[in-house]
Symmetry: C2
């Protein structure tokens, strides 16, 4: 059997898809650190460090700031399962795939779901969001801050204002924004925010950062009964990570080491500097794509800095282009899906993958792959991006 299953030997990949991003070398090193037990005082020191570092990155003072022992979708399910009460109204601002996933989870947990819908990639205006929330008067409102399926950002301030006016809690999906663009949980008024480790934080996937406001923890503590889920029960996780350190599950210790180191890298770079790096590389990429003649799916003010969605030109098969990129350069980008299948590329510039070098490499490789598929670029993407970078010093 071991003749067939030898040593690991993955192909070299430059990860420019919607996540995971390339992992920081220091994070790999941290993962070699010998583990301690899940109830060892040292483990709780590490969890406490992670809490403090996540508070900085989330922009929050929330005491309940933890990493859930699963991937980003486990963070989403923790948020939904603990706050969607059976039969209570749960409102979703739906304009992309991850909004639909929240919908599916909220229905499974028995909530009465109401949705305001827009085409994938079109954000809701303050008025649209507010009037929906004030009319529906739900118990919970959920929105996706950075939609990985579309590349669009949704502002949260008006949503939070309207939700709090009707006494609702707000859940924000920050899976694709954390660590690469401002999240600002407290300033925005978000009650529950969750994310992942493998995008803006450039750590391998395996944990879901999550933060809950004191107000939302109060709602949770006041509730009779328990959520359906035991593994993701936030009150039990609160008892494990804080307070009594009561045994719940065996936390993935090595992943905590990894996340701690990834967050140290973020704080060392500085949040503001990190955001500007992501913004600059995003703008350089867009300059290059537009010079080639591509148009962006998302209107300019709402584009994510970490995920770019240029439209696939008429007559070009995006899957063939992507195959060329991976086969000749080892570069992973993704296509669209759902209503955007075949219509957009999804190009991530996240965490350690967001570099000027990667932008230029991708533009060159993409131009070659598109030409090979019969596309005639309007101009040189690489030159346009180089000009942009020269004019906008890092």
């Amino acid at each position: 059997m071991l003749d067939e299953i030898g040593s690991l030997c993955p192909p070299r990949r430059i990860l420019l898809g919607p996540g995971p991003s390339n992992v920081e070398p220091r994070v790999y090193e941290a993962m070699r650190t010998p583990i301690v037990g899940h109830l060892d005082p040292y483990f709780f020191e590490v969890a406490e460090d992670v809490r403090k570092l996540l508070q900085v990155v989330f922009g929050t003072k929330n005491q309940f700031t933890v990493a859930i022992s699963g991937t980003g979708s486990a963070g989403m399910e923790a948020a939904v399962a603990n706050f969607a009460e059976p039969g209570e109204k749960f409102a979703i601002l739906a304009n992309g795939y991850f909004c639909d996933r929240i919908t599916e989870m909220a229905r499974r947990y028995g909530a009465e779901v109401v949705r305001l819908e827009k085409p994938w990639g079109q954000p809701f205006s303050d008025d649209e969001a507010s009037s929906f929330i004030l009319r529906e008067r739900p118990k919970v409102v959920a929105f996706v801050h950075a939609e990985t399926s579309t590349g669009a950002r949704q502002d949260g301030a008006a949503i939070c204002r309207a939700a709090h006016e009707v006494g609702a809690l707000v859940i924000a999906d920050c899976v694709t924004s954390l660590g690469g663009m401002p999240v600002e949980v407290d300033a925005t008024g978000i009650d529950i925010a969750y994310s992942c480790t493998q995008k803006g934080l450039s750590c391998p996937p395996g944990l879901a950062p999550l933060t809950v406001s004191d107000r939302a923890m109060g709602v949770l503590r006041a509730r009779q009964g328990v959520p359906r889920t035991w593994y993701l029960d936030l009150k039990m996780l609160d008892d494990y990570y804080q307070g009594a350190h009561r045994y719940h599950h065996t936390a993935p210790i090595t992943m905590f080491y990894a996340l701690r180191e990834a967050l140290r890298v973020v704080v060392e770079e500085g949040l503001e500097a990190r955001w500007q790096r992501h913004r600059r590389n995003h703008l350089g990429l867009v300059a290059g794509l537009e010079a080639m003649g591509l148009t962006m799916h998302v209107a300019e003010p709402y584009r994510l800095w970490m995920l770019n969605t240029p439209c696939v030109p008429e007559g070009i098969d995006d899957a063939r282009v992507r195959r060329r990129l991976i086969e000749s350069h080892g570069i992973e980008i993704f296509g669209g899906f759902g209503p955007l299948a075949g219509k957009v590329f999804r190009i991530g510039l996240m965490g350690a993958s967001s570099t000027q070098e990667n932008v230029l490499l991708l533009l060159e490789a993409l131009e070659g792959a598109m030409r090979a598929e019969g596309y005639k670029p309007a101009g040189s993407g690489v030159e346009a991006a180089e000009s942009f970078f020269a004019a906008h010093a890092a």
Copy 2:
């Protein structure tokens, strides 16, 4: 902030508690391997290797053999949430803490739970188990093969026979047996078995190996409706890992690398040889403990080879003994909890931690710590264990 939160610097620990065990050095090395994307063909090759290796270790031909993206308790919740139907009878053979945890989960998911109870650490006889199941005629029967809270093993064959006679599926918790003692899913007749990575497999915690029989998958596929949990929905995981490779969540790729390497280590050693190593070290430890005058909580035929529960002698404070072990030797062992609080030590000899050297080291350290607490050993534990090991060559 980074003044306070410096480089990782954990204390050195010899992990002889109920898990995690010390990690195989090769597994740490595997975790440095650069990641690929979660939909990369190479990732699915790795997942397929993991499937084949897990089949060997579980003793099964089940096609649906995967690693769930969470820790052992996520495996438990996946088993319960997918197979406990609201209002249907779910029978539990309850003789330890993890049986109670299954009970709690099954109730949360709406099952009508019936329990046959015995004191913690006392296994059910074939007759007891069979007559309970034949009388209750449940849809699902759950038992804990190796109870981490008590150190007792529960045979599954009679349970499976009776369950299948009434058309019930059988769930077995193999969290503390997999990789250290025979599990034999197919030969026993188990339908759903789950485990963890951080005990007998000596991989860090973070994944939950899980296997489901074709028969149980048939039951699942025939069901109308969906389980409450989305993250742990086994039909969706089946679509992701096998078949269409439809995107579900971003699997923790580095943990898959780690588990693959840990399983390669197990198969290289040979399952039978690995079991015998665990058995020999367990017997050597028991010889030593008994020579010191300690008695074992579990009757001889039912003792786990991976988790030993000597009784704490009258008048000795187990917490003080454990503190001495960790402070002077860096050795982690655990105490009992629930009805066994203060009454037993829980000493793990799991995976890479199960060595003759660790047995002798622990006996020496334990004897010293107990003496310091006023205990007068009947004889030398180290000498008894050395005689045992000399008489029973590895």
